[in-house]
Amino acid sequence: MGVAIRRSVGLAGLAGRSAHTLRPCIAIASLPSPLNQQYSAPSRPPPNYPGHVPLNRLEKAALAIGSGLMSLRDPRRGDLIAAFAEATATPYFIYRLQDAMLASPTGRRILRDRPRITSTSLNLPYLRALAPNTVGRTYIDWLDREGVSPDTRAAVRYIDDAECAYVMQRYRECHDFYHALTGLPVVREGEVALKAFEFANTLLPMTGLSVFAAATLKAPERRRFVGTYLPWAVRNGLRAREVINVYWEEELETDVDELRRRLGVEAPPDLRAIRKAEREERRRKAAEGGV
């Protein structure tokens, strides 16, 4: 029969055998060892900073489309929103933002110092001890009220230039400060309003495209957004100075109203209070209707 049974053969058996048994040279040359890597894998350019993944244009486009659609479906996927921001930031927009930072003395200092905002770099107990109307206290009060921490921001991976990657990282980490500055809550309505403000101010495409998430809001929320918060966002975002240039670590003890005045931002109507009042109104109506 033509069935060949293969067993482990000694060296002596190597001479004068069929082509199907061990061939020593190939056995050594193709060892599965790190030293003998015969890649046939597509190669990427080397990373420019730790965690950097250089993508080609097709991959970037696919990431933009995929993350955009999936984060629209599930806005709780912060990692996808972050990836969407990075994939859509080039070619023009992140460079414009970098130039805006380079044009301002404070922005240049931020780019030189490269401060990071994490729960360890900010002294949270110290912030809680500050006077009530300071930036730092408003920020920590907002964090505590919404139940979020400064540590939830993903690292930038898909922007090729290292300094632009820092600009994007800075924008991402300052997002909570923008919440504190404007007083908008983390509910979908508040996030969409803040994104509209950020688009008018920073011109990052992700922020502008996130405004389309307003289509997923409930009807009264959408009416409120279109009627009140969108005009507020556009008006203030356009007239305010670049919020990316605020050196937040130095502004922690500043009075928050004074900072708003300096930046040219007016606080919008308190969204949490409005929503709470509406909820109580609904409950009252339901109780009355039931009686």
Binding site: V3, I5, P34, S40, A41, G51, A83
Partner: protein
Amino acid sequence: MAVRPTQLRRALLQSPSRLRQTAPNTIQHPELQHLLSAAPSAFSSACPFSSTITTRTQNTPDYAVPNPSRPTHFGFQTVTEAEKVERVATVFTSVAESYDRMNDLMSFGWHRIWKDYFVTSLNPGFSPLTSGLDPRAPQHILDIAGGTGDIAFRMLQTAHVVNGNPDVRVTISDINPAMLTVGKQRSTLLPASQQAALSFVEANAEDLTRTAPLSPPGTRTPAPTSTIPDASVDLYTVAFGIRNFSNIPAALREAYRVLKPGGVFACLEFSKADAHPLLNTLYKEWSFRAIPLIGQLVAGDRDSYQYLVESIEKFPSQAEFRDMIVDAGFVVGGQGYEDLTGGVAAIHKGMKPRV
């Protein structure tokens, strides 16, 4: 029969000193840095299944004995065997929930065809060498790295239903409790008779003398209390798992130990599609560009899927893996392997000789 060292074995014995000169570990992502910062001894005490066996039988070559500080590869990085166990554990704990959905997305559902063919070709439950006319003898099947249960469930279906042999029991073994938990949840959809024939154990495939039953989710893995005895398994299968092992020769020798004489070792694994250059190019582009992207979008974890495609790249070719199987003492028939989908996957089979 005294087996003289083959050229392959001699080359592998030479490799450790060469490997010591490799470049230090390169960290691909800062968040994974902490996994490499602990000493190997910390790992072996933390993980109950890390191999600390230093000697086996006298015939076992050095490279087939698990050594926690021996360098091996984790994707394209160089790590020690102990580190690889920990990092693979992190990868699979992270991907466990979305594992089946990701498999469908990555292979367009084709992994189901491969697994169906794998199980059908093994035909569990059918024992033609049984004396008498009835080919249905009791069988014990061990499915290694069987986590979510795809192969085991197919085995039970074929054995109990297609071959009408209820005496076939399947043990699913995996080093990762998260994967086993997903498998256990999925198994609740099986008929009761098949569930009764199924058992879940946590074990390191390189040392099956130390196994423990699956611990409830959220609890730490208990110390190993049971063992898989020598010559107790009729069929040993491992599907898409063996490339994640820290020491493949050790796992092959454990397979040899637990199999009965005449028992079959079967491995379904990704392999080299070099024989078809166009398919290979498309396959590699898909693997390295699209799969990590899908991992990011669906599972929120690019790095794990990057590791998975790199580990496919690092796995030996069909012939090399066959040689490793033969080196462990199995006999193979013909080429020893069968290519699926142009070599994208391959089934390797070996039998433990009866003598």
